[in-house]
């Protein structure tokens, strides 16, 4: 009990805020400050004060990107967003003096950007530099984010995300995963994106008013279609290349080409949008070309230049702001939704906003443009910039391997470990436990909870927006944890115990359980909110922080607990475990990313209000020589570079981890008196924090792996793109390209499509989609649909739709595809083919006839006008289907999945090759003579096995796929799964027959002989690949009623026993039937697998996978839920495996023997209701139970005679029932 006094969590260092990293104290008056935070701050004043100092210290140390022209204090307090933007757009050009930093390493390339360039961002370094790829040139490198703004517009969003997806696929493709490119699904995403884009801009058709009215838009539209068409061509080329197994080099070249074409397409779309926005839609904004447009004075890489930041005449600021105000008025007229005063308000803080709005977003106000535009930079200083932010990968494939330190992963791991501890905790209190155990569990739970909180804190800190929901969730969780700790303490203080052996009854634990449960609930909420935040701000790496967290907590806890716990478990290892392998050794680190960037490299000074575009000058490079205008720079206040702390590479050695400022050891757990030293340690460890010296002080390896184009890659792509880019330059060129290629594509583009309602998995297969989208996939014109997809659809569509809806959907597809020769005819033919296939091979007479009327109408109506011949055939089929009552027209066996020509040849092969039956005349006669008694010992094991196999195979082969769906066979009230159930019954009967034949004999020796015979039969079953019968026989021989017959087994030979053991390993249930599954993997039909495995698999696919999936939400809305096709694919795969074995054996049936066997089975079934207990009773009669050993019998007597403690009551009870029950049993 004394132990527990030390777990006093109310001690100052353990108080509330000690467990979570302290919050940032914002010095500027903030509207967003929530009242709750104030409360918490006041509750831990000392902590807060310390935090503040730490924060201000570290902020000055971390060399933040220079805030554009406004000091941090003046930053807007209103909701800055540090969202991670996948796309940025340069609002000012940036040409570093040299693209390579002073080191010779070419991977530290800084890309020059031009105004208007759109950049695909891969990661953002905390210092404000982003690793991005220029869509315009395909060049990749570092670029200053303060020259860019988020690029996002509703109409182009879908195209942009398609591009990101394509990029990710190509990245995966470069690491050898090319499967996805053998299909063209990914290109359809791009097409759908373009379609969506044109639709949104009301330029979809050539006839649309906008297109007719604007020459430039018309041209751009043609150009866009031309680009798209060329992209499609490349994709086709790639497809062909892959199919013809072309050289890897060629493949990679084509991949590059693909990406570049896609980039070009998107760049064009961006230009289109610009023109559209300026020409077509919005009120033209009067621009005055800003002669004083400034340019970045200091190429960021050049460290020498960095210091020569010229004095900035502050006088410039005045006029510029005046202008700003003017424009603000104009803009707010154009985008009228924003209240003017608010606009102006923000304008004065953000002089740049005007130009940005006019350049990139001179559009009617959309939901996104305004907040986004102000987000990028203003957010930076506030967010905790410990590490690089990454774009979340769409495919997530190659990334997941090397990034174990990502916030999302951390969060997940911490939550898991928390759940496991807390569940132990709860479980503990449902039962009576001792205090020491309770102590340990409580501690574990609290530690785990704190770890989770720390991760959440990390996420929260990272998010400059300081997500209120997350904070709230965290606060709730924290208070729940406190309650839990309090409850535990209360319990211990209430119940005093002398020897520390006090047992807590479940009743007293109730409070604890409630507290713990609410803790779990709060944690779940917390994790959900954190995940949302991560999604929004981009995933990031914890670098050392993650390690720091666990380390610190452990240190704190250990320091505290070590002295008081004699139960002390090896704490660090224990609690470390749940966290995913933080790379401990430098060797286990992922290979260093290709790009280098200096931690201390300051961002270039961002330009003043960017030069204004004239409508005519649409070329990206507009300002060739902007006049240098500078603003008050904060750079002068920075120490010269040489004095900057030397960055060092994070060495994840434990010692350093504990030193790093992020590992908040001292902050969290240090004694109050050490506050000073805390600050000191934070101050100097900052410098060593995440970087290491790398050759020269200015460039380090970014610790974070980036999804980089490999260094040798980027130069080539840039080069190769020159030609392509030139086509942009002149409209005439553009025009010529466009006119050639657009026609065909236009038709395709105008096609109504549901592609955006499909979800793909990492392998590029469709894993979900709405019904129209899936039907569309079923009837694509460009390629033969994937056979697995088609079979799955036919097999399972009744599970997610009705035959009537399916038919209607197909007819819709037939309608909306239009009359176009290019697309319409092939698609319509496919629609017909789908109907045909359904009627011919997949018709189910029990439910499908409902759709027959619709199909007939279609066949004789719409189809006749379009495809007369097809119409006739379909009508024929439809009438035929009504005549054939049951099943499909064509035997499903032949046409279904997994079937090849081989199986059908086996099926039709003559029986001439079948082996001769092993049976004598006299045996046959005996069988024929009903009066004579036959025994299984009379027959050859091989022949018995053969006949069993024939009977079983007959049932097995008649199993229809539909029987295997939706756990049909377990539903007792339907008659659907007849064959599956018949097969189960047969197996059970066989098992019972085995038991019966053994247990009906009085003599143990005779029983042994029967056992031997059955072992032989099962050996033969194995040879015949009849695993189902094998399983039944072995199970029966292995059952308790047979196995307990000691005297019998004594008579069984060692050889037989050894054989049996061998067979047992085959049917072993362990590791999910690993042995059996392995055997079945490449088995050639005919074969009767153990059907139970399939049934279990199917059950769990059904139960373990949801019926719907969520489409990724658009515009922050909740996604639409669509059919989880993945589940059905899995079902179909299992059914397909089973079907692949459905081939009859080439064996000669002996009807007499089969009759006899069936008679035996019937007899067994009739006698004793064939239940297990009756066999067991028989077994007991044959070889009665030996008297139980004395030890087992005595305890009840003894314990009842003595006084027993509460915890022994359980034991007493069970032993008592034991003896009584066993007496009954034995009687």
């Amino acid at each position: 009990m004394a132990d527990f006094q030390h777990l006093n969590l109310d001690e100052p260092q353990f108080h509330a805020s000690a467990f979570v990293a302290p919050l940032v104290i914002n010095k500027s008056p903030q509207r967003s400050r929530s009242a709750s935070r104030h409360t918490r701050q006041s509750s831990s004043k000392s902590m807060s004060r310390r935090t503040t100092s730490i924060r201000s210290q570290s902020q000055s140390q971390i060399s933040p990107p220079l805030t554009p022209r406004a000091s941090r204090e003046a930053l807007p307090s209103a909701e800055p967003q540090a969202e991670f933007h996948n796309y940025l757009r340069a609002f000012y050009h940036f040409h570093p003096t040299s693209t390579v930093s002073s080191s010779t390493d070419e991977s530290s390339i800084t890309v020059p950007i031009n105004q208007g360039d759109v950049i695909l961002v891969h990661s953002v370094h905390p210092n404000g530099w982003a690793d991005g790829t220029l869509l315009a040139s395909g060049a990749r490198g570092w670029l200053p984010t303060n020259y860019c703004e988020a690029y996002d517009h509703q109409s182009i969003r879908s195209l942009l995300s398609a591009l990101t997806h394509l990029w990710d696929l190509v990245r995966d493709g470069e690491s050898g995963d090319l499967d996805v490119f053998t299909k063209q699904d990914y290109v359809r995403g791009m097409i759908a994106g373009v379609r969506f884009f044109l639709e949104k801009t009301q330029c979809l058709t050539r006839e649309s008013a906008l297109i007719v009215a604007h020459v430039s838009l018309r041209r751009m539209r043609k150009g866009l279609l031309g680009d798209l068409s060329s992209l499609v061509k490349t994709a086709k080329k790639l497809q062909e290349l892959l199919q013809s197994a072309g050289s890897t080099l060629a493949v990679f070249e084509t991949l590059d080409e693909l990406v570049l074409k896609a980039f070009k397409l998107v760049t064009r779309a961006v230009r289109f949008l610009d023109i559209w926005a300026q020409d077509a839609v919005s009120v033209p904004v009067p621009f005055d070309f800003d002669e004083s447009a400034n340019r970045p004075l200091t190429p960021p890489v050049d460290s020498a230049d960095a210091q020569i930041a010229p004095a900035t005449p502050s006088s410039n600021l005045g006029p510029s702001e005046d202008r700003t105000a003017d424009h603000a008025a104009v803009v707010s007229q154009a985008s009228s939704s924003t209240p003017r005063d608010e606009r102006e308000d923000s304008r004065s803080r953000h002089p740049r906003t005007r130009s940005r709005a006019s350049f990139a977003f001179a559009l009617p106000p959309t939901e996104s443009s305004a907040p986004h535009s102000s987000s990028l930079l203003s957010a930076q200083p506030q967010s905790k910039r410990l590490s690089v932010t990454h774009r979340l990968s769409y495919t997530g494939k190659s990334q997941s391997v090397r990034r174990q330190n990502l916030a999302s992963e951390r969060l997940c791991a911490a939550h898991d470990s928390f759940l496991s501890f807390i569940s132990i905790f709860i479980g503990l209190h449902l039962q009576s436990r001792s205090s020491s155990e309770l102590l340990v569990t409580t501690r574990d739970s609290v530690i785990a909870c704190r770890q989770l909180l720390a991760v959440v804190e990390e996420v929260w800190e990272r998010d400059s927006q300081r997500s209120d929901p997350l904070e709230h969730a965290r606060a709730t969780m924290y208070s729940k944890l406190s309650e839990l700790v309090q409850a535990t303490k209360d319990m211990f203080s209430n119940s005093e115990s002398v020897n520390g052996e006090e047992v807590f009854t479940p009743d007293s634990g109730k409070q604890l359980v409630i507290a713990a449960t609410s803790c779990v609930r709060a944690a779940a909420e917390c994790v959900t909110k954190a995940t949302i935040v991560i999604e929004r701000i981009g995933d990031f790496e914890f670098e050392q922080a993650g390690q720091g967290i666990s380390q610190t907590i452990l240190e704190g806890i250990n320091a505290h607990l070590d002295k008081d716990t004699e139960t002390g478990l090896p704490e660090p290892q224990e609690t470390d475990k749940p966290l995913p392998a933080t790379p401990q050794e430098p060797t286990s680190r992922p290979p260093p990313p290709p790009l280098l960037i200096s931690e201390s490299k300051p961002l270039p000074e961002p330009p003043a209000p960017s030069p204004i575009l004239n409508h005519e000058t649409l070329h990206p490079v507009i300002v060739e020589s902007p006049t240098a205008v500078s603003f008050r720079s904060s750079r002068s206040s920075l120490p010269p570079l040489s004095q900057l702390p030397i960055p060092t590479l994070p060495q994840p050695s434990p010692s350093e981890a504990s030193q790093s400022p992020a590992s908040a050891t001292h902050r969290f757990f240090g004694k109050a008196g050490r506050a000073d030293s805390v600050n000191v340690s934070v101050a100097d460890s900052t410098s060593t924090y995440p970087n290491s010296v790398r050759g020269d002080s200015a460039s380090i390896i970014s610790e974070v792996s980036t999804r980089a184009t490999t260094p040798d890659h980027s130069p080539t792509t840039r080069h190769g793109d020159q030609a392509m880019m030139s086509s942009f330059g002149s409209t005439s060129e553009l025009h010529s390209i466009a006119s050639e290629e657009t026609t065909g594509l236009e038709a395709q583009l105008l096609e109504k499509t549901f592609v955006h309602e499909l979800i793909y998995n990492k392998e590029g297969q469709i894993s979900g989609g709405s019904l129209p989208a899936l039907v569309e996939q079923l009837t694509t014109h460009e390629s033969t649909p994937d056979s697995m997809f088609v079979t799955t659809f036919y097999l399972t569509f009744r599970l997610f739709t009705t035959p009537v809806d399916f038919a209607n959907c197909l007819i819709d597809r037939f309608d909306y595809v239009g009359d176009s020769q290019e697309v319409g005819v092939p698609v319509r033919l496919r629609v017909y083919n789908v109907f045909k296939g359904w009627l011919e091979t997949h018709w189910q007479s029990d439910c499908d006839p409902l759709a027959l009327g619709i199909i007939l109408d279609f066949a004789t109506g719409k189809l006749r006008t379009a495809l007369p011949a097809a119409s006739k055939r379909l009508a024929e089929l439809a009438t035929k289907v009504t005549e054939v009552r049951a099943g499909a027209l064509v035997p499903r066996l032949m046409s279904s999945m997994g079937k090849t020509g081989i199986s059908s040849t086996i099926y039709s092969a003559a029986d001439s090759t079948a082996p001769n039956p092993v049976i004598s005349k006299s045996q046959l006669n005996a069988l024929k003579n009903k009066t004579s008694q036959c025994n299984i010992l009379d027959f050859d094991p091989l022949e018995l096995a053969r006949q069993i196999t024939i009977i079983e195979s007959k049932l097995f082969c008649s199993i229809q796929p539909s029987e295997l769906l939706a756990s049909e066979w377990t539903k007792k009230n339907t008659q659907k799964a007849v064959n599956v159930r018949a097969m189960s019954t047969l197996s059970t009967d066989l098992a019972n027959l085995v038991a019966d034949t053994i247990l009906s004999l009085e003599d143990p020796k005779k029983r042994a002989i029967v056992i031997k015979h059955w072992v032989k039969i099962s050996m033969k079953c194995l040879e015949l690949a009849n695993y189902d019968s094998l399983m039944a026989i072995i199970c029966s021989l292995n059952s308790s009623m047979v196995l307990r017959l000691k005297r019998t087994w004594e008579c069984v030979s060692m050889k037989t026993k050894a054989r049996l053991e061998e067979l047992k390993t085959i049917v072993d249930v362990g590791r999910n039937y690993a042995v059996l599954r392995q055997r079945l993997l490449n088995h050639v039909a005919p074969c009767i697998p153990f059907v139970g495995i399939y049934l279990t698999d199917l059950t769990f696919v059904d139960v373990g996978n949801q019926t719907t999936r969520q489409l990724p939400g658009d515009d922050g809305h909740e996604g639409v839920s669509v059919i989880n096709f993945d589940k059905h694919m899995r079902t179909a795969k299992i059914v397909g495996q089973l079907q692949s074995f459905q081939v009859p054996y080439r064996l000669v049936p002996i009807p007499e023997m089969q009759d006899w066997m069936e008679a035996q089975i019937k007899r067994v079934r009739a006698s004793d209701q064939s239940n297990v207990q009756s066999y067991y009773r028989r077994s007991l009669l044959l070889e009665p139970r030996e008297p139980p050993p004395a030890v087992k019998a005595t305890p009840p007597v003894e314990s009842s005679a003595q006084s027993i403690t509460s915890k022994d009551r359980f034991d007493f009870l069970s032993t008592f029932t034991f003896s009584s029950a066993s007496t009954i049993k034995d009687r």
Binding site: C412, S417, L419, S420, F421, I424, G427, L430, Q431, R433, S434, T441, D444, V503, K577, P578, N761, S767, S967, T970, S984, T985, S987, T988, A991, A1032, C1035, S1039, S1040, V1067, V1069, R1071, N1072, R1077, G1092, L1095, T1096, D1097, L1098, T1099, F1100, V1103, G1104, D1126, K1127, R1130, I1134, Q1173, Y1176, V1191, S1199, K1207, D1208, F1210, D1211, S1214, T1215, T1217, F1218, A1221
Partner: protein, 219 residues
């Protein structure tokens, strides 16, 4: 303590949602797509009282009766699942329990009684008291009510069962230990030590031999 591996068998008649229970437990919450056909589809590592334990869940879902025994033989702990909406499903468990005890030849085999579908309170057909009485009559095995659909109490059930298995392991080891020691002393020695609870057993282990003698006298 080294990593242990236990087999847990989930039993119950059809329609009680036992496979749902298994799936919920085995599946990681973050997994989007569950594949039951691979080797570790039913394996999960959990922490029980500070030690990591690997559980392999054996669920006969969808298979015929005869293979059940195979599962029972392999299992070290048993979840007997019924639906609180069906009294029959509870009754059917009695026979299963008999079978387990018969096969394991041990009255004290770790069992947890689980009333599933606790979310369907309005359709409840088995009262808590009734189910609890059954669990008491079964040697006081723990009774839980779960909702596989809402993932309520799912992990708890498995954890509790796992704890029972561990305790039983220790007891058995203790029994063996004591039998051995008793034989070494003389026949007159008290043999009740072997019957002491797992709690005491563990403490004794940590304190050493002398105290263990004393605890025998206490008993």
């Amino acid at each position: 303590m080294s990593q242990r591996e236990y087999h847990i068998v989930v039993l119950g008649s059809g329609g009680v949602g036992k496979s749902c229970l298994t799936a919920q437990f085995v599946q990681n919450v973050w997994i989007e797509s569950y594949d039951p056909t691979i080797e570790d589809s039913y394996r999960k590592a959990i922490m029980v009282d500070g030690r990591q334990v690997i559980l392999e869940i054996l669920d006969t879902a969808g298979t015929e009766q005869f293979s059940e025994e195979l599962y029972m033989k392999t299992g070290q702990g048993f979840l007997l699942v019924f639906s609180i909406t069906s009294m029959t499903s509870l009754h059917e468990l009695a026979e299963l329990r008999d079978q387990i005890i018969r096969i394991k030849d041990d009255m004290r085999v770790p069992i947890v009684l689980v009333g599933n579908k606790s979310d369907l309170e309005e359709d409840r057909a088995v009262s808590r008291a009734r189910a609890f009485a059954v669990s008491q009559s079964w040697g006081g095995c723990p009774y839980y009510e779960t909702s596989a659909r809402r993932r309520a109490n799912v992990d708890e059930v498995f954890t509790d069962l796992c704890r029972q298995i561990i305790l039983k392991d220790m007891k058995d080891a203790q029994v063996r230990d004591y039998d051995h020691r008793d034989r070494r002393r003389n026949q007159g020695g008290r043999d009740s030590g072997g019957r002491s609870s797992g709690r005491r057993t563990r403490d004794r282990n940590s304190r050493g031999g002398k105290k263990s003698d004393r605890s025998c006298t206490i008993l």
